[in-house]
Symmetry: C2
Subunit: 236 residues, 2 copies
């Protein structure tokens, strides 16, 4: 039994969305019975301190709790770890050093999915992820220009994320629409949902006809590819 | 940290549906931030042998694999276990005896949710669960009459479940509609989705205006009530 560990609950609905994508991709790859799916151990730990608040200097560090989650998964002998929360990847190096199992990097998977011809990219993420520069550095390293939100637009993005976390998807979409309007009018040619709550709002909206990268979906694709390549979908 | 253990992957989409119900009920109870949700450890183990086939005598027993899952959850010190698969509850007594943590019984939670005035009840479940008599005994003990499917109707129910497990919800609904027609024309006054794949098909259909009990939802209600009553939604 090869287990894939998911460090989740950040937030709860985003973890469920990630699992659903993993299952749908496995079905698309031919699974028609339970026994043809990947085995997962999901540490769904929503009490981990807020990542964005910590990055903005207004909350305690989530790192000790993140490492406890990584420890729990490793104790259960997972062979891979994935974390469907972009902001948590600010602490990627510390988690990776701490973990026996490898950890797929959500932002690397997402930036790798951008079409090269879209040179100006807007990443929508938490205020903390934006401040941390996580995506801006990766975009620059691959030759993309980052279209950064102004303060009012970032507040809209954070409000959207907050509404999704509260289970109010209906209330989340107007904030995302306003943020998208601003970013498109400032030259964005492609967008990245760089927070795993955002695809849940986006799914309820009409979206612009430009390339859109969903970090939850890209992490799920990377996870399923990794597992299927190793035959983890078959009982041993 | 009080963890609730979920023994899942039976099937994969049903486990995701269960988690989503737990999250939605916790949001409805007032959670607006990640940190106000319940912490879960999900052993998502779809390689556990098919429960229905074993009950029908055509497959290996899932009990050893079920007990390994129960062991994994107990090793991680979960304080409650839930299993969003009705057929697996044929082995409830063995799992309960084996487990340190208590296990909520999905069929007990579901039968308890039936309105007493609906005296004739149809439980739609796998062929194995039907053969096992799990629900029929519980209904009789509470004074309900069980409306049992004929062979052709049971084949429709099993076909519906199979399509959901294959990720083909669209193809699942016609089977469920046919089964419902037969059961209603044979006197059912209330129905129970006694297999956790069925609510996923039912959500895409027009349903008859009679009481319907969703075993996934009733298990989620029991789980959230148990956890919130003990304050498990607050970080300690």
């Amino acid at each position: 039994m090869a287990l894939i560990g998911i460090l989740g609950g950040m937030g709860p609905l985003a973890t469920v969305d990630f699992m659903q994508q993993v299952i749908a991709l496995t079905n698309s790859a031919g699974a028609s019975r339970d026994q043809q799916h990947l085995e997962l151990l999901v540490a769904h730990l929503p009490h981990i301190p807020d990542r964005s608040e910590a990055l903005l200097g207004s909350g305690e560090s989530p790192l000790p709790a993140l490492l406890r989650g990584i420890d729990m998964l490793n104790r259960n002998e997972v062979e891979l770890i994935v974390i469907p929360c972009n902001s948590a990847h600010h602490w990627y190096d510390a988690m990776r050093t701490h973990s026996r199992a490898p950890i797929i990097h959500i932002a690397e998977a997402s930036v790798a999915a951008l079409p090269p011809e879209a040179s100006r990219v807007a990443v929508l993420a938490t205020g903390g992820t934006f401040q941390s520069g996580l995506y801006q550095r990766m975009l620059a390293a691959r030759g993309f220009e980052s279209i950064d939100p102004d303060d009012a637009t970032q507040r809209r993005i954070d409000a959207c994320i907050r509404e999704v976390k509260a289970g109010r998807i209906d209330a989340s979409t107007e904030h995302l629409a306003a943020a998208l309007d601003w970013l498109l009018s400032h030259g964005a040619q492609a967008i990245v949902w760089g927070c795993t709550e955002l695809p849940l709002a986006a799914r309820e909206m009409d979206l612009p006809a430009i390339p859109i990268v969903d970090s939850t979906l890209e992490l799920a694709r990377a996870t399923v590819s990794y597992g299927l390549a190793r035959g983890w979908n078959s009982p041993r």
